[in-house]
């Protein structure tokens, strides 16, 4: 081994120790990788999503003559999402959703336009103000150790 090779090996050994000390003192957050997989999955339009089917639809006439609200339930038999649509003061739509799993990423698409929502721990998500129109929701959930993707059929908001 030449001196240069020796130095390079010593540097490599020190860098390996540095990696382990940084891994130990400033570890990668436990769920970071899953969240990144989910963020990329909802962004990647070429992906195939399991299609949820509409289970139930209930249009509730407004009490006191206010705007109508719409509640829809989609499911694949195992995972369900509930979507509640209401009208905003400005004439837009507010979409509240609940999924019975840990949602990692949620998007609402209308044609080329898309909005993303920050899913909470409880499976709740909300789009505060989207224009009326045909929409579909794509979401990525954590199912045990797996990450799974779903898409609803189009529905009118």
């Amino acid at each position: 081994m030449t001196d240069e090779e020796y130095d390079a090996a010593a540097d490599a050994a020190l860098f390996a120790r540095l990696r382990s000390v940084w891994d130990e003192r400033d570890p990668v957050p436990a769920d970071l990788v899953d969240r990144m997989v989910a963020a990329v999955a909802v962004e990647d339009l070429s992906r195939e999503y399991a299609l949820l089917t509409l289970v139930e639809s209930a249009e509730l006439a407004a009490v006191r003559g206010e705007s109508d609200t719409l509640t829809l339930q989609f499911s694949d038999g195992r995972t369900s999402i509930l979507v509640h649509v209401s009208e905003t003061d400005a004439g837009g739509r507010r979409v509240d959703g609940w999924v019975d799993a840990v949602a990692l990423a949620v998007r609402l698409a209308q044609g080329e336009r898309e909005w993303s929502a920050d899913p909470g721990e409880s499976g709740r998500f909300a789009f505060d103000d989207v224009p009326p129109g045909m929409s579909r929701i794509r979401l990525v959930i954590r199912d045990g150790g797996d990450v799974r993707e779903f898409m609803t059929p189009q529905f009118e908001v």
């Binding site: 020190l14 390996a16 990696r19 940084w22 990144m36 997989v37 963020a39």
Partner: protein, 219 residues
């Protein structure tokens, strides 16, 4: 070496395969080769290959971004932005083989940009506060195994910001592109190698200095 353009392949330079924590005997592909392979499969229509690429590279991106002193939440945002940029702009990547270098470069630039905004917004200079965690003294720290890591951590924390950043980026990037690194760190390209060596020398001196003190203290 002349200044490289973005379209040129990044050179391995003096970083050996052992440096990356990947066996160098050729039995297993290096990380950048695996990344290139997964990216190629994704582009060919295998959507799941992207998941594997994300799993492979996210921890590396995390450490590279944290080297810029961003807090943990911002660092996660930068890692996410990097991935979304890849998905949106993958067609413009001229050298798919170099996708791991593309990712780390993108992450470094975004970290730098976001870090500048954070520093401007925070006059106490978060960059100086954040990475210098106080050296924590505890009973466990006196154990031999802990002591080794503790001493190294203390030494690292004592280095100046530029050294900490450079060493962390070089430690986690398998084949750092020195031309881009120089540009991103506002340093002349020829000075990255010597600076890296100076930082390593300082670190070694600190470790040895610390070890004398520790052994004296323990009697």
């Amino acid at each position: 070496m002349g200044v490289m353009t973005d379209t040129e392949r990044s050179e391995p330079l003096d970083v050996t395969p052992e440096d990356s924590g990947v066996p160098g005997d050729g039995a297993e592909p290096t990380r950048w080769q695996r990344a290139a392979d997964l990216f190629g499969r994704w582009r060919a229509g295998d959507t799941r290959a992207m998941d594997e690429l994300v799993r492979l590279m996210s921890p590396v991106l995390w450490h590279v971004v944290r080297a810029y002193g961003l807090d943990r939440a911002l660092a996660e945002d930068v890692v996410q932005t990097t991935w979304l940029t890849l998905v949106r702009r993958h067609e413009s990547i001229v050298e798919p083989q170099a996708v791991s270098g593309w990712l780390t470069t993108c992450a470094r630039r975004e970290a730098w940009r976001v870090g500048k905004l954070q520093r401007r917004a925070d006059p106490t200079e978060a960059e100086h506060l954040e990475p210098h965690l106080p050296a924590h003294e505890s009973a466990e720290d006196s154990a031999v195994v802990e002591d080794e890591s503790h001493r190294l951590w203390t030494a690292v924390s004592t280095l100046d910001d530029r050294c900490q950043r450079l060493l962390r980026v070089v430690a986690f990037e398998e084949r750092p592109d020195y031309a881009r690194l120089a540009q991103d760190m506002s340093m002349p390209i020829g000075s990255i190698g010597p600076t890296r060596q100076r930082c390593l020398a300082k670190l070694r001196a600190l470790i040895e200095g610390g070890s004398h003190k520790t052994s004296g203290g323990m009697g």
